[in-house]
C-alpha cells in the first residue's frame, strides 16, 4: 500500500513562521547558556551586514569590501578538496551543494575586535560535505584557503600580508552540527563582500575563523597554519573561541558593542563560546582555554 501522508499543503509552515521558529530556537539556546539572556535574536539589517565587513582582500576599511567586492567573479567557482579524504578532486560549486539541505541559521557573530552582529545565514552543515567526500581515519584537522586573485581583490596587491588567507579547524569542530558552510544570507545568495559564493561560519569562535570565499579544503593530521596566528601569534590563537575571560592583549573581551545599536547602544556582556556553550563546551573538556586561546 503506497504511503499516504495526512499532512496537506496547508500544514507546511509559512516561511515567516519558520523564520520566527528559528529565532526562538536560537533564543532558547542563548537562554540556556545564560539565564539573564532570555532574548530572541533579532538579526541586524541587511545594510549593516553588507556594509560593515572585515574582508582585507578588498581593503582595510570596514566599508572597502562593499565598495570593491563587486568586481569579484563568483561563477564559475570550484573547491579543491584533498588530503586525507576518500574522494579528492576539484568540485564545481553546484556539485558541492548537491544533496545538502540548505537551512536558515540565525547566529550571533562576534568579531575579535569586540563588536558583534546577528546574521541570518543560509547554508548547510560542513559535516554533510565532509561525510560525502569521506574523511580518512588519520585526519585530525581541516585546513581552508580563500581565493587568491589580486586582479579582482585589490587588497591582495598589498605585499605585507601573507596571501592567500588560510584558516583551520580541528576535525571535531568541523564536524559539529553548528559549523556551517554558508551560501547566502537573508535568503539571498551570499553578497560578495560577505564571502561569496561560499564561506565558513563557526558561531562560537571569533569572526576571523569564519573564512570567506573558500577555494580549497584539505584534511590533514597536523594543525594547519592560520593567517592571524602567523601575523601575531601572541594575539590570535588557533582556537580563537569567544571567551569573555581571556582578554586580547590590547583590549578586554569581557563585553562587546552591538553593531546597529546606535550611538547610545553601549555594551553587552560577551557570552562564553558566544552563547553556544551548551552545544560546544564539551569539545574543550580538559583544555586550559587561557593557554589554548
Amino acid at each position: 500500500m503506497p504511503f499516504k501522508s495526512d499532512l496537506g499543503w496547508s500544514d507546511v509552515t509559512p516561511k515567516a513562521l519558520f523564520l520566527n521558529r528559528r529565532q526562538l530556537i536560537a533564543g532558547a539556546a542563548a537562554a540556556l547558556a545564560s539565564p539573564a539572556l532570555a532574548e530572541t535574536l533579532e538579526p541586524n539589517s541587511l545594510e549593516d551586514i553588507t556594509s560593515y565587513n572585515n574582508f582585507y582582500e578588498f581593503g582595510w576599511d570596514k566599508g572597502d569590501p562593499a565598495r570593491h567586492a563587486g568586481a569579484l567573479t563568483t561563477d564559475p567557482w570550484s573547491i579543491e578538496i584533498g588530503g586525507m579524504v576518500d574522494k579528492p578532486g576539484t568540485y564545481d560549486l553546484a556539485d558541492i551543494l548537491k544533496g545538502q539541505p540548505i537551512e536558515e541559521r540565525i547566529y550571533r557573530f562576534r568579531c575579535v575586535e569586540a563588536w558583534s552582529m546577528v546574521v541570518p545565514w543560509t547554508g548547510f552543515a560542513l559535516s554533510g560535505l565532509l561525510n560525502r567526500i569521506g574523511v580518512q581515519p588519520s585526519a585530525r584537522y581541516v585546513a581552508f584557503e580563500t581565493l587568491l586573485r589580486p586582479e579582482e581583490m585589490p587588497g591582495q596587491r598589498d605585499g605585507s600580508f601573507p596571501w592567500p588567507y588560510v584558516e583551520g579547524l580541528r576535525l571535531d569542530e568541523a564536524m559539529h552540527p553548528l559549523t556551517l558552510l554558508a551560501t547566502g544570507l537573508y535568503g539571498e545568495p551570499m553578497p560578495n563582500q560577505n564571502g561569496a559564493p561560499i564561506r565558513l561560519v563557526v558561531p562560537w569562535k571569533y569572526g576571523f575563523k569564519s573564512i570567506k570565499s573558500i577555494v580549497k579544503i584539505t584534511l590533514t593530521d597536523r594543525q594547519p597554519p592560520t593567517t592571524w596566528n602567523i601575523l601575531q601569534p601572541s594575539e590570535y590563537g588557533f582556537h580563537a573561541n569567544v571567551n569573555p575571560e581571556v582578554d586580547h592583549p590590547r583590549w578586554s573581551q569581557a563585553s562587546e558593542r552591538r553593531i546597529g545599536a546606535g550611538l547610545f547602544g553601549g555594551r553587552v556582556d560577551t557570552l562564553m563560546f558566544n552563547g553556544y556553550a551548551d552545544q560546544v563546551a564539551s569539545l574543550y573538556a580538559g583544555q586550559d582555554l587561557a593557554v589554548d586561546y
Partner: protein, 202 residues
Amino acid sequence: MRDRINATARRVPTAFLYIGGAILALWLLFAAVQDSLGPDPVKALEQGLGIWALRFLLASLCITPLMRAGIRLLKFRRALGLLGFAYAALHFATWIALDMGLRWGQIAGDLTKRPYIIVGALGLLLLLPLAATSWNGAIRRLGAAAWNRLHRLAYPAILAGAVHFVMIGKVWTGESLVYLGIAMVLLVLRVPQSRRIPARAT
C-alpha cells in the same frame, strides 16, 4: 606667494579657526546622532575626533618651522593647540561614555593594562597644563621663559598621540605611520642644529 599668505593671515581673525573647529565637531556629533556615519557611529565619532585632534596638534607644531621659512602664522598657534586639546578630550569622553558605555571596571582595567590606552591617556594628561595656561595672563604670571619651558610638554604629548594611533591598528596601517612620520619630522626640527648633525672628523 609667501607675502600673499602672510597678508591673508593678517586679515583672517583667529576666531575663524575656533568657529571652524566648533562647526566641525558639531557636524560630527550631529551626523553621529542622525545615524549617518554608517553602521558603527560610535567608532566613527571616536576615530573622527581622535584624528582631528592629531591634525590640529600637528598643525600647531608646523607654526615655528614655517616661521623660519618666513610664513608668519603665529597668531593661530594657540587656537590650533586648544582645538587639538578639545578634540582629544571629546575623543576620550566618547571612549568612556559611548564606546565603553560607562563600564567603570573595564575602563579602569584598560587605563592600567592596555599600553595604547595608557599612551593616549598620558598624551591627553600632558596637554592639560598647557590648555590651563593658554591665556595671556598665565604667560605674564609664569614669565615667558617658564611658560615656554612648560609648553615644551606639547612635544611628548603629540608624540604620544601619534604613537597611540599606530598602536591601535590590528596591523600597522600606512595612514597611522604617515602621521607618526610627520610628528617625528616636526619634532626633529626642534632639535638644535648643532646637536642634530653629529660632528664628523674631517
